[in-house]
Amino acid sequence: MTNVYIEGIGMTKFGKFVDKSMKQLLVEASIEALEDAGNPKVDAVFVGNFMGGSIGNQEILGALVANELGLGYIPTAKVEGACASGGIALRQGIMGILSGEYDTVLIAGVEKMKHASTADVTQAINAAMDNDSNEKQAGLTFPGFFGVLANRYFYETDATKEHLAMIALKNRENALHNPLAQFQKPTTIAEIMEARIITSPLGLFDCSPTTDGAAALVITRKKGAIHIRSSAQSSGPTQMQDADDVLSLPAVRESGRLAYERAGVGPEDIDVVEIHDCFSMTEMLAIEELGFFNKREGWLAVEQGRTKATGDKPVNTSGGLLSRGHPIGATGVAQLYQLVQQLRGIAPNQVEHARLALAQNLGGTGSYSTVHILERL
C-alpha cells in the first residue's frame, strides 16, 4: 500500500501537432491536471520524456514546467526510461511522497515525434538498444524484436497472424470511442491482415504509431477517491539473445508479481487494464506475464473476446498504444489518465463497477517495466 492518491488528471489530444511545441503540450496537460485537482500547492515535478534531446533539441523539461506554471523554486527532474519514462516518472513522484519529502507532486509525460522523418525517429528509438552489442549491429529493431517473438509464438502455439490482428482491431474499436485517441477511423480484420509488412509477421496495424501528445497527473498524500494501491518496477534483459525464454518478458512478470504482492490482490481481482501494446505481440505476451491468462494461451483469450471492453478482462479500453497513440514519454502517464476515468465511472468504453485497475508500462526490448495498481475508495 502506498497511501498516495491521484487527485487530478490531464491529457492533450494525441496525434500530429506540428504547430505546438513540446512545452506547450506539457503545459496544456499539466494545467488541466492542476485544475482537476483544485490547484493545490505543488512540491515537485517529474517529467517523463525519451527523445526531446535527440530529435527536439529540448531538455530541462522539469524546470520548464515549473517556470511556465509559476510553481516556484521547487525541485524538478526529467526521467528517462525509453517507453517506460512516464511510468518511471510516476513512480519517482510516489517515492518522493513516501520518503516524506513531498506532499503533492505533478507528474507529466510528453513526446513530440511527428515533425521528424520515420528513419530519424526509428534511429532515435534505437537509442534504447545496447549500442555496444553484436545484436544492435545485426540490424535488429524494436518492431524486429517483437517480430522474432511473434514467429516463435506461432511456432509453439496454434496462434496465427489473425490473432494479432484481433488485438489491433479491438484496440482500434476502443479508440473509436475515445475523443483523445490518435486513430478514429474504423478498420477491419482484412485491412489489418493485408497491410504492408514492417517486420514479418508484423504489419502496419501491429505497430504503434509516432505521436505528439502529453498527459499529466497530480498525486498527493492527502486521502482522496483514487488510491495508488501499489507501485513496482523491474528491469529485464537488454538484449534478445540474453533472454532465458524468448516468449517471456521477465521485467513485466516481475513488476507484476511485486505490484500484486504489495497491493495484496491477484490478477483475478483486477477489473480493467491498460497494457503496453507497443506492438500487438507485446499485448499478447503481457496478458500472459501479468497472470491474466496461462502462458502460451493468451491467443485463446483474444479469440474468445475476453480482453474486449465487454469481456471479463478488459485490456486497453483507451485504444492502447496501437490506436490511442504512443507519444513515448507520455504513454505511461496516459495509461493512468484512462484508468482514473474508469474508476471515476466516466471513461470511454466504461467498464461497469470498475474498482481495481492495473497499468503496465514497458521500456526498451523488455528492459524496463512498471506496474501500478489503482483502487477506487
Binding site: 528513419a119 540490424g139 516463435r152 514492417i198 517486420t199 524468448v246
Partner: protein, 101 residues
C-alpha cells in the same frame, strides 16, 4: 564463436557479465564453441533505422548454438525458417552474418 559460461550454473551468454545474472554467484568463463546452430526464430525487416535502411529487406535470426545454451542474434544472408541449421559466414561491422548450412 566466443561464449561466456557460468562456472556455477547452466547459464551461458554471448556477452560477458560481471556476475552470473541467473544464479547471482557464479563467474562467467570464456569458452570457444562451434558457431553452428539452429534458427530459433527470425524476422524479415522491411523498415529499418537510417543506418541499416540500405540493407532492407534483411533477415535477423536468433540462433540457438549447438555446443552451448547461449543464443546469438545474427543477420542472415538469405531467408531462413525456424529449425534451419546455420553457421557463421563472417563478421561485418560487429555483426555476425550467418548462412544456412
Amino acid at each position: 564463436m566466443k561464449v561466456y559460461q557460468c562456472d556455477q550454473c547452466e547459464y551461458a551468454s554471448v556477452s560477458n557479465k560481471y556476475r552470473c545474472p541467473s544464479c547471482g554467484t557464479g563467474k562467467l568463463q570464456e569458452q570457444d564453441v562451434s558457431s553452428r546452430g539452429t534458427v530459433y526464430s527470425y524476422t524479415d525487416i522491411h523498415i529499418a533505422p537510417a543506418e541499416f535502411a540500405h540493407l532492407t529487406p534483411y533477415t535477423v535470426a536468433l540462433i540457438q548454438l549447438d555446443e552451448s545454451k547461449a543464443k546469438v542474434t545474427a543477420r542472415t544472408n538469405g531467408n531462413v525458417e525456424i529449425g534451419d541449421v546455420a553457421e557463421l559466414d563472417h563478421i561485418e561491422d560487429g555483426a555476425y552474418i550467418y548462412r544456412k548450412c
